[in-house]
Amino acid sequence: MKHRFLIVGLLLLFGLSSVWAQTEPPVVDSMVVDSTELFPAAVSDVQVVDKPNDHGHAVIVTWETSADDGGGKNNVLRYEIFYSTSFDGPFDSVGAVPAGTGEFRHIGSKEPLDSAFVPDYTDLFYQIDAVTADPTIRTTSDVLGPVQCSGQWFNTGRIPVLVAVLIFGLLTAFFVLSAKRGKKLYVRPIGGIEAVDDAIGRATEMGRPILYVLGLGSAADVATIASFTILGRVAKRVAEYQTELIVPTYDPIVMSVAQEVVKSSYFDAGRPEDFKEDCVHFVTQSQFAYVAAVNGIMLRELPATCVYMGKFFAESLLLAETGSLAGSIQISGTDEIAQIPFFIVACDYTLIGEELYAASAYLGREPKLLGSLKAQDWAKAAFVALAIVGLLAANFEWFEFTTLFQVID
């Protein structure tokens, strides 16, 4: 009984108060009321998950944007994200995103001493503020969490690459094996390759040396490794014709590998006694000093043939123009796209991009080396086919296909 009175009383009071609130204008500072009205709605439906496919130390926070973002009062300018290792805080700001965004990737450092460190296997809690143009006017969401982050052992985002690796590997293995079994593989004529032999013959006739430049790449650059194979071929010919070979190098490791390659070519040609180690020598590890020295060699030794194969940068034109001044036949090949125009303009023969690798496989004179060339061609055919299908997919808005090739990080 008592309770009933109490409840009725409270209800009456509540009703009265609401009537009072409607009739009486509030006697408070109008600014404050304005700002209470200006407070945007909080974000909703917040999800926190460990960021997949990473080394840990990262969390993805997603949310439904505030009702006042792009609609309603339309006063949200950005969202600020806070995190803490305990439910009660204190919460640290970890970043902000502009309005209209519903996701934040909190990528922490893995170094425990770093201020941005985010621990793995620890409960983490998040809060999101919807902030207006006046940063004091903001609405904080509920505390979200806990979430734990950790590293994964397989990156599912890279499955397309894994498939490509497997297919390419199998194709290569297949063609290498069939080449080993003696199947003949056709390779279309490549301009610069035939020129190499002629150029060596020319040098012999003229009694002038051959200059071979391996570029600025390190011994680990694939272009340099392709160049080693071509160097081996050139050196063998040089040994047979008993011409002089000069190989100035930019990198000491490249130098020692090149020495080894030239040496074994002389062995193969049956003239190990003609090999002089100093024909392959180190210059300096400074781009333009190297160019200055090679230019000097060109004008002093007047090589009949200059071969540039490997990685080249701004020095490409300096070398090639000086070579043409020295009256040399010049053959070049690089996979550095920006330098191809200069070689094309200044050299007699240029291997464009992939032709360098093809030439390397071709000049290696081992049928199994050509196997991978065949696999590369299959990959190109696959590319064309996929591009056509993908084009249709893009035009007819069949997005399942286009997303197949997305590599996510």
């Binding site: 300018l77 950005r78 209209g100 143009a133």
Partner: protein
């Protein structure tokens, strides 16, 4: 004296080219060293005697120029210096010309930088343009420099809604709250125009994505020539105008000299740098023509 130099060097260059053309019609090749001499003269002459060429502002450059010109005096403009000394030869002339233009039109200008190296270059502009040209303008009232703030895109994310949170004071340590110019500026949305100068990251692209689009502020950019083709797709929807490389700077300067008497007597580094560029390009084009003339002559002779 300078005119005499210009006339003589032009005579040397074009007379020489005509003579070479004449020789090549007779079927003779030009020696390499002759080409080297021509290139040297074509570059050196405009440095010695300022040879400038008429530049016409293309619509992309005009877009930014007209926007600054038509804004009512007293409008608020933010200019950000996001580049390093390597880019400075291309971008600094733009920075100077745009700063001059804004202040000459009576706009209130805020200078800032997202690159640590930009602060010195920003200081250079203040020294070269404002001190000598606008001695009456007051720091903090008509213009202000907030200097550099670390944080790259993070800075943009904050200043888009709260400028003073990232820049509590100006470069001299004076609180922005006490600066008159900041009375009506709280966030980037309060600017009437933002000019982003640079070419790296963070740079114009980030200004467009993080500030221009969300806060709906017109953005004009000035970039190094190599970056310009990548920014074209943003024009004119997200960028109102763009200055690309020295050429963009030169076009802006010539437009400025046309419309503002005062600027005619000032240093015009962009136009000055275009002299060697234009002459050298013309010389190379002429040599290509001469080479082809010689080539066709010799082929005809062989054909006979």
């Amino acid at each position: 004296m300078a005119y005499l130099g210009v006339i003589i060097s032009m005579l040397v260059i074009f007379g020489g080219l005509a003579w070479l053309l004449f020789r090549s019609i007779k079927g003779r090749e030009v020696e390499r060293r002759v080409i080297f001499v021509f290139i040297f003269v074509a570059v050196a002459a405009p440095i010695l005697f300022p040879i400038t060429f008429e530049e016409h502002a293309s619509p992309v450059v005009k877009g930014l120029f007209d926007h600054i010109d038509t804004l009512p005096p007293g409008s608020r403009v933010l200019i950000s210096f996001d580049y390093d000394p390597a880019m400075a030869p291309e971008v600094q002339p733009m920075a100077n010309a745009i700063s001059f233009h804004c202040l000459d039109r009576g706009h209130k200008v805020v200078f800032m930088s997202l690159w640590a190296t930009g602060q010195t270059l920003l200081f250079n502009t203040l020294e070269d343009v404002i001190r000598p040209e606008f001695p009456d303008l007051i720091d903090g009232v008509d213009f202000i420099s907030t200097g550099y703030k670390a944080g790259n895109e993070g800075v943009l994310n904050v200043i888009v809604s709260d400028f003073k949170k990232m820049f509590p004071t100006d470069v001299n340590g004076v609180p922005l709250d006490s600066a008159v110019i900041f009375d009506e500026i709280n966030s980037c949305a309060d600017f009437d125009l933002i000019v982003a100068l640079g070419g790296g990251r963070p740079g114009p692209k980030e200004w467009v994505l993080f500030v221009g689009d969300p806060a709906d502020v017109p953005i004009g950019v000035g970039v190094a020539a190599v970056v310009a083709p990548q920014l074209y797709p943003y024009y004119p929807r997200q960028i109102i105008g763009m200055l690309g490389g020295v050429k963009g700077a030169a076009e802006y300067e010539s437009e400025l000299a046309h419309r503002h008497e005062r600027f005619k007597n000032m240093a015009q580094p962009g136009l000055k740098m275009m002299g060697p560029q234009t002459l050298a390009h013309i010389v190379i084009i002429c040599f290509i023509v001469i080479g082809n003339v010689a080539f066709f002559r010799s082929r005809r002779r062989e054909g006979r």
